[in-house]
Amino acid sequence: MSCQLIATEVSFAYERDKCVLNGVEATIQDGSVTGIVGPNGSGKSTFLRILAGLLHPDAGSVHLNDRALRSYSGRERARSIAFLPQSISPAFSLSVFEVVCLGRYPHSSAWGSLSAQDVAVASRALVQTQTDALRHRDFGSLSGGERQRVLLASILAQEPRLLLLDEPTSALDIHHQVEVMALLRHLCRDGYGIALVTHDLNLAARFCDRVVLLGATHCIVADGRPEDVLTGPLLSEAYGSTIRVGQHPFAPAPFVMATLPEGDGS
C-alpha cells in the first residue's frame, strides 16, 4: 500500500498577524524525494513541522492516507512519519546503539523494554546507514557525518514510511553532504518517501525528484520537477534577487548561482 501525506491550503502564524505560511500545499509520496526550498524566513521549517504533525495549521488541513493527521495519536503517527530536527543537543551521552534504540519508542511497550524484534530492527537500521561499526561508540564522540547517519538510523528504527528531515546536510562538509544525499536516494529506492528542507539548491537539483519552492511572501512560488522549478525567473521571484541557472557541469541537473546585485560579470 502506498503512503501519502497531503497538505492542503495550509496557513499558520506563531503570533497573530505574523503569517508564516499562507495557503501552502504539498504532497509527500513514498518512493520519492521532495526538496522544500526557499529564502530564510519563508516558513520551510515551520511547514515541515506541520507536515510532521508537531504544529497544527491555523487553516487548511494535512491528511495522511486520506485521514486527518490530527486524528492520529502521537505514536500511531510516528509509525508512519519520522521527523529529524535540524539540531540535536543531547543532555547526556548515550552509545550509538542506545540512540538508535530510542527510535523504537512508537513501537515499545508501556515499560519500554526492548524485544528481540526491537533489537533486530535497530541492528538493521545500523546496517542500512553503514553505521554498524560505530554501534558501541559514544554518540557524543562522533564526527558530524557519522552523527547524521546515526540519527538517520535512529529514525529508520521507527520503521516509518516517510522521513521528514530539516536541513539534514547543513552541518556537513561537501563530501559528507553528497554521501548523506546518496544514502537518502538509496532509501528512496527502498520505498521510503523523503521530504527535506535545504538551503542548498544544487543538492536539491541533483538529488530531489520534486522541489517545492516557497517565496518570501510565505506562499508557494512553484512546485514540480527540479528543472521546471529551479529556473532563473522563478528563483529570482522567490528570493527577490537575481539568480542565474545554468547546466550542471557533469550531472543532468540545473546548476544555480546567485549573482551580486551589481552583476558579477558571469
Binding site: G74, R75, F83, I88, A91, F92, S93, L102, Y105, D138
Partner: protein, 341 residues
C-alpha cells in the same frame, strides 16, 4: 549490561541492609534474638522494652527515612532530566525554601496563638510547609508556561528567583521572631526523621508511593526528552504533558516529604549522580535504583546521626557531611561526560 545488573543488585542489598541496621542500631542497640523471643512468646508490645523501642520508635523512624530518602532521590533524577541540568535537585525550583518559609510562618502564628493544633490533626507546621511549597510550584509553572512547551531555562530562572524570594521571607521572619524561637526554627531547617508515631509515616507513604509510580512510568519518555525534545515530539511524546506531569507530581511528592522531614539537602543531587555512574543515563534503571539508594542512604545517615555523632545530630547536616566529600570524589574520579549540557 552484566556488571550494571550486578551493581544494581548489590545496591539493593546494601539498602535493605541499611534498613535492617536502622531498626536495631541506636542509643540502645536491640538484640534481634530478644525481639524474636519476646515476639514468639506473644508478649504485649507495651510490656517489652525491646518490642516497644522497635515498633514505636525505630520502625516509624526507619520507614520515614526510607520513604523520604527514596522520594527525594527519585525527584532529583526526574528534575535533572526535566530541566536538562546536572545541577538540578528537587529543591532547585524553590520548593524547599518556600516550604521552610511556610513552616516559619506556622511557628510565628502558633506563637501568636493561632492554628496550634493544625488541620485534621496534621501539625500546622506541616500544613503550612506543604501549602507554601505548593504555591511556589504553581507560581513557577505559571511564570514559565508557554503555548507549546516550557523552556527548561525559564523554569529554572523562575524557580531560582522564587527560592530567593522565599529565603528573604525567611530572613524577615527570623528578624521579627522572638530570639528564643530561633532554635526551634533552625532545628526544623536542618531536617530530621525523628518522627513520632505512624501518622507521619502514613503521610509519607500516601504521598510518595503513588507519585513514585507515576514518575517511574515516565522513564522512557524522559530518555527521549533528554536526548532531544523535538525528536521526542516527532516520535509521539507529548512534551507539554510530560513536563506538566513530571513537574507537578515530582513537586507534590517533594512538598509532602519536606513538610514531614524538613528540607533535608543533598540527597536529590548526589544520589541520582552516584547511581548514574553505575547504571548509565537510561532512566528506567536510573530512577528505580535512585529510589532504592536514596532510601538506603538516608537510613545510613540517620544511623550516623543518632549513633556515631553526639546526641541527635540533625540529619540534614549528616547528608551533606557524608554526601559532599563522596560527591567530590565521584567528580574527580569520573570524567563527567554523561552530561553534554
Amino acid at each position: 549490561m552484566r556488571p550494571r545488573m550486578l551493581g544494581a543488585v548489590l545496591l539493593l542489598c546494601a539498602s535493605v541492609a541499611m534498613g535492617f541496621a536502622s531498626l536495631v542500631i541506636g542509643t540502645e542497640n536491640i538484640e534481634l534474638g530478644t525481639v524474636v523471643q519476646e515476639w514468639r512468646a506473644g508478649r504485649p508490645v507495651a510490656d517489652s522494652p525491646a518490642l516497644s523501642v522497635l515498633f514505636n520508635q525505630r520502625l516509624p523512624r526507619t520507614l520515614a527515612a526510607l520513604l523520604g530518602g527514596a522520594g527525594l532521590a527519585l525527584a532529583g533524577g526526574v528534575f535533572q532530566a526535566l530541566l536538562r541540568n546536572p545541577l538540578a535537585t528537587p529543591y532547585t525550583l524553590g520548593i524547599a525554601s518556600a516550604g521552610a518559609f511556610g513552616a516559619w510562618i506556622a511557628f510565628i502564628l502558633s506563637d501568636a496563638g493561632w492554628f496550634v493544633s493544625g488541620v485534621l490533626g496534621i501539625p500546622s507546621v506541616q500544613v503550612f510547609a506543604f501549602l507554601f511549597a505548593g504555591a511556589d510550584v504553581l507560581l513557577v509553572y505559571m511564570l514559565a508556561a508557554r503555548k507549546e512547551h516550557s523552556s527548561p531555562a525559564v523554569l529554572l530562572l523562575a524557580g531560582v528567583t522564587m527560592g530567593m524570594l522565599a529565603n528573604s521571607g525567611i530572613m524577615l521572619t527570623r528578624y521579627l521572631a522572638a530570639p528564643d524561637r530561633l532554635v526551634a526554627m533552625d532545628r526544623w531547617l536542618m531536617g530530621g526523621v525523628d518522627v513520632l508515631g505512624y501518622r507521619p509515616v502514613w503521610t509519607l507513604t500516601l504521598g510518595v508511593a503513588p507519585c513514585a509510580l507515576v514518575l517511574l512510568a515516565q522513564a522512557g519518555k524522559l530518555d527521549q526528552f533528554g536526548f532531544s525534545g523535538e525528536l521526542a515530539a516527532g516520535r509521539g511524546v507529548n512534551i507539554k504533558w510530560l513536563q506538566i506531569l513530571t513537574f507537578s507530581v515530582g513537586s507534590l511528592m517533594t512538598a509532602i516529604i519536606v513538610s514531614v522531614i524538613g528540607p533535608v539537602g543533598f540527597i536529590g543531587l548526589i544520589v541520582p549522580h552516584a547511581v548514574r555512574a553505575l547504571t548509565g543515563p537510561r532512566h528506567y534503571l536510573l530512577l528505580a535504583l535512585s529510589l532504592v539508594a536514596g532510601g538506603g542512604f538516608l537510613c545510613f545517615c540517620d544511623i550516623i546521626a543518632r549513633k556515631i555523632l553526639p546526641g541527635e545530630t540533625p540529619i540534614g547536616i549528616v547528608t551533606t557531611l557524608i554526601g559532599g566529600p563522596f560527591f567530590l570524589y565521584l567528580l574527580m574520579r569520573r570524567k563527567f561526560t554523561d552530561w553534554d549540557a
